[in-house]
């Protein structure tokens, strides 16, 4: 099952979705078994921003049919904290590290890309563009022009593979993917969570501290499959697919639709070792399907 992705050699095609697995916390909970049986072929960090962030006020979670809405708000230690404290610890995981970064202006993203890229522990970068550009007011990831301008700025700053994580809420996601490809992205990843909302059953007010949040889990799996399929027809670069993957068959479907790697997010909340199970199920399916 070993696979090549943007020049990286991975043991299998299953990685984690950004922000859904904290390897350092998991090691505290599960000890060194986590390292011995690390569930992912590469480890993707939670989104790192330039400055430290507290994240959104709680409540941050709301369960829905086949999934959940989260309004976490990207809490993180900020670039410096991440590079100093987390990266050295993550380097012990024994799998390639992909660092997910987000900035609120092109200059911020450029700063992040340059600084992260300098670190040899880092194998690839993922750009989270599901946020507005404070300069233009446009969602970076929803507009082909924004994406192109962003990549023209940051692409020259690193030789490492650059993955652009698309937002599912664009009118024309394949057009955004195409713009990213043309401007030099090495791969795209999709889908990020889909905007959703819930009301407090007692008060009728928005439940989530952040008012709205993002839906993840099997509820969005058919949406992910459709978008991956459409993007695969639009761009020739590798795709990291995610959205509601629970079983090997879901991963297999996404790969049939054109994905090179599949990321597991919400399912890890239900089963911390979901990545291992899904990778094994996928290997079974692949060996049965192509004997």
């Amino acid at each position: 099952m070993s696979v090549e992705f943007c020049g990286l050699e991975l043991a299998h095609p299953i990685i984690n979705a950004s922000g859904t697995f904290d390897a350092i916390a998991a090691r505290r909970a599960f000890g060194d078994q986590l390292i011995e049986r690390f569930p992912f072929a590469a480890f993707v960090s939670k989104t790192v921003t330039l400055e430290p962030r507290q994240g959104n006020p709680p409540p941050r979670l709301w369960e829905v049919a086949g999934g959940l809405i989260n309004s976490i708000g990207l809490p993180n230690k900020g670039l410096a904290g991440y590079l100093e404290q987390d990266l050295p610890e993550l380097a012990c995981l024994g799998v390639p590290l992909i660092v997910n970064v987000m900035g609120f202006s092109r200059a911020e993203v450029a700063h992040l890309v340059r600084a992260v890229s300098e670190r040899e522990e880092v194998s690839a970068l993922e750009l989270n563009v599901s946020c507005p550009n404070v300069e233009t007011g446009l969602m970076m990831g929803a507009d082909p022009g924004e994406i192109a301008a962003l990549l023209h700025r940051v692409r020259p700053l690193t030789d490492k593979p650059l993955i652009v994580k698309l937002t599912p809420s664009a009118t024309d996601v394949p057009a955004v993917a195409l713009a990213a490809f043309r401007a030099g992205a090495d791969a795209v990843s999709l889908i990020n969570t889909v905007r959703g909302m819930a009301l407090d059953p007692r008060t009728g007010e928005p439940w989530l501290g952040g008012t709205t949040g993002g839906v993840s889990g099997p509820a969005i799996r058919p949406i992910a499959l459709a978008q991956v399929h459409a993007v695969a027809e639009a761009v020739p670069i590798p795709i990291v697919a995610m959205g509601g993957v629970q079983r090997g068959r879901d991963a297999h479907d996404l790969m049939r639709a054109g994905a090179s790697l599949v990321a597991v997010g919400t399912e890890s909340f239900r089963d911390p070792a979901a990545g291992l199970r899904i990778a094994a199920q996928l290997a079974d399916l692949t060996s049965t399907v192509r004997p």
Partner: protein, 269 residues
């Protein structure tokens, strides 16, 4: 054997339900967990039914649910459950022979009382769960004050040794709040007590305020909505004087002093 020295096994494992008992409004589920380590008092597990986890109210549950360990004897884990929604509804209907899926033990658990202080356990409703295992470990001399809504809930008091009981409606024991009882204790010997409390947000907040006022050390077992239980989702944060902390990782037991409030938004029902 050092209690609670081993981390939780990595991943989710099946544990067969061995018994289901009712205590008034509550259900105690026992399950056999040969693979897991001995939990510490105050630690919790993420539980789901192995079959048909879903298809309840609003097509839920989907995520596992957090439960304090009530008791841990001979590789059997006991949990105390109150049916408040689709997850607890599914779990409380499990019969012996059916499987749970569990992850844990998770979180930190209680630590022993400071030098010169004796433990006082203060529980409200289903929050008595972690106090039972804590009393098992501290010894029966550890006194417990327990508050319940009414008689049918007060049946949960049978899970602890010789508790003093308060009920909101006066149907059993003292007519009033368990924090009234705590107040009486603190009036007499605030300097000799360490409080261990678990219960609904409003009760915990009252306990916290009382401890703060009289400089009594308190360890509060909190609740907040959890998706993962092992630090993965950042969903369970509660505000502390040090900023937000993930309750599943840094808690669920927190020193009362670090909390600006113990009335956690969105917890309880």
């Amino acid at each position: 054997m050092t209690i609670g020295s081993r981390p939780a096994p990595f991943g989710r494992r099946a544990a067969t339900v061995t018994a289901r008992e009712t205590y008034g409004a509550y259900v105690v589920l026992r399950c056999h967990d040969p693979g897991g380590p001995q939990p510490r008092a105050g630690q919790f597990y993420m539980l789901a039914a192995a079959e048909r986890w879903g298809g309840g109210e609003a097509e839920r549950p989907f995520l596992p649910r957090a439960f304090s360990v009530l008791r841990a004897l001979e590789r059997d884990l006991h949990f105390l459950l109150e049916d408040v929604g689709p997850g607890t509804s599914r779990l409380t209907e499990l019969a012996p022979g059916e499987d749970l899926l569990l992850v844990g033990p998770l979180g930190n658990g209680f630590t022993g009382p400071r030098e010169g202080r004796t433990p006082l356990l203060v529980g409200g409703g289903v929050g008595v769960a972690p106090l039972a295992i804590w009393q098992d470990q501290l010894g029966r001399a550890a006194r417990a004050l327990l508050g319940f809504r009414d008689r049918v809930h007060a049946d949960g008091a049978a899970l602890l040794h010789d508790p003093t009981i308060a009920t909101d409606d006066g149907s059993v024991g003292y007519h009033g709040l368990v924090t009234d009882l705590l107040g009486e204790e603190l009036d007499v010997r605030a300097d000799q007590i360490e409080v261990y409390a678990c219960g609904p947000p409003a009760m915990l907040e009252a306990v916290r305020a009382m401890c703060a006022e009289r400089a009594v050390p308190g360890q509060l077992a909190l609740e907040s909505g959890m998706a993962c239980g092992f630090g993965a989702c950042f969903g369970c944060v509660v505000p502390t004087v040090h900023g937000y902390i993930r309750l599943c990782l840094e808690g669920p037991v927190l020193d009362a002093q670090v909390l600006p409030t113990a009335a956690i938004v969105g917890a309880g029902h």
